[in-house]
Symmetry: C2
Subunit: 238 residues, 2 copies
């Protein structure tokens, strides 16, 4: 069987060997949830960019630019980081370029060596698990965290994905064991458990409770988000 | 109220501000458990040293030298990293110098800015909690992990300590929330839960099951281990 590992922060990813593996990047609140939602709502592609200035300049190349820092829309950007902005096919057939505090940096740190980079969200958990189960590759779940620190929501997603894949993969990694146990303990009330968490509190301060509810919705979408040629695209499970 | 935070790896400690805080370094299997046991058995002091060569040279200065790498006694050292070696006052009134794979490096990374550095173990959990509860300082629990990676046993200790201090400290740090929940879930069978863990498996391969049992014993000792003038010493709770 292939193995599944969990890396709890982009500050730890250098300790892992990504070669030949599928890396699933997760930033539940809100980058990867928002990206998946954009893809579900017909955007043609999403280009993740680590730096604000690089992203800003992509406007002149025909991109809709989305920029978030510290939970808020960055100066000069058309969009922030809310999944709700993309509903009702609001940006159908548009190319998006996006930079966020944690998520896009985590993608950047994943893509050099990995065989494939996916983006993970509760919104397409089951689809992602189904896809991974048939790839015959080792998997690393790469949690974006918050400015390098461990965070609860990304780790719970990691636990949920390990739990979904427990019959298909071995998991000896301590991070995988711990987060699977934490998810099993709290899966019936993720929002209640996360309400203690620092980042959820930060988001509540920004009055985006609706975003939190949306990002915690399970299996709303039935496709995977995959990085191809520097762009995230919608990809079928089979 | 003062606050308590958990740092899950020495590779993340640069993200925390240690100034004015008490840092509790934990390396359950086995460095800090062994140090506490040495102090309980009458050694006069334990000097943690990050490097093998520096430690080796301290033999000529009258130290008993203890060295461990990758779970085994390092070449040329009198002692490895087993708490059982120190029982029955085997090294009473001796000065020990010690270097280990993870624990001594974690102490090294803690001591520059912190107000105080303690070593934590299940063996003196209650004593450490009682001491911290009356200091009126913020606390950071610094898990040694395994070569920079998250590990289960140090994180469970962090959760146990947060749990013991929950009425005395605020804890908004996601690491503290997660590890407290994980400890609460598994406190009645720590060994069973840890038997899945990668480091415990490594230790079992070295036939040191007795060490594991010993390191998971709760509250065998009633003092704290504290770094003073580069040496760990036995210190009363009150």
């Amino acid at each position: 069987m292939n193995k599944i590992e969990v890396c709890l922060s982009p500050e730890l990813i250098h300790l892992y060997d990504l070669k030949g593996k599928i890396v699933v990047v997760v930033d539940i609140f809100r980058a990867t949830s928002t990206m998946v939602t954009g893809l579900a709502n017909g955007v043609s592609s999403i280009t993740p960019v680590a730096g604000l200035e690089t992203c800003r300049q992509m406007k002149s190349q025909g991109y809709i630019i989305a920029g978030e820092r510290n939970g808020q829309t960055a100066d000069g950007f058309e969009l922030g980081n809310s999944p709700l902005s993309y509903l009702n096919n609001a940006f159908e057939n548009k190319k998006i370029a996006v930079t966020t505090t944690n998520g896009t940096l985590t993608i950047e740190k994943s893509k050099t060596d990995a065989a494939e980079v996916l983006i993970g969200a509760f919104l397409n958990l089951k689809a992602t698990a189904e896809y991974l189960a048939i790839q015959e590759k080792d998997v690393i779940i790469h949690c974006a965290g918050w400015k390098g620190m461990f965070n609860l929501e990304d780790s719970l997603y990691a636990g949920a994905l390990v739990n979904s894949l427990k019959d298909h993969f071995t998991f000896e990694c301590d991070g995988a064991i711990a987060m699977k146990a934490l998810y099993e303990q709290n899966q019936d009330d993720l929002k209640g458990f996360l309400s203690q968490a620092s980042h959820a509190k930060r988001l509540q301060n920004h009055n985006i409770d609706a975003d939190i509810d949306f990002c915690l919705t399970l299996d709303k979408f039935d496709f995977i988000g995959k990085l191809e040629d520097e762009k995230l695209i919608k990809h079928p499970v089979h």
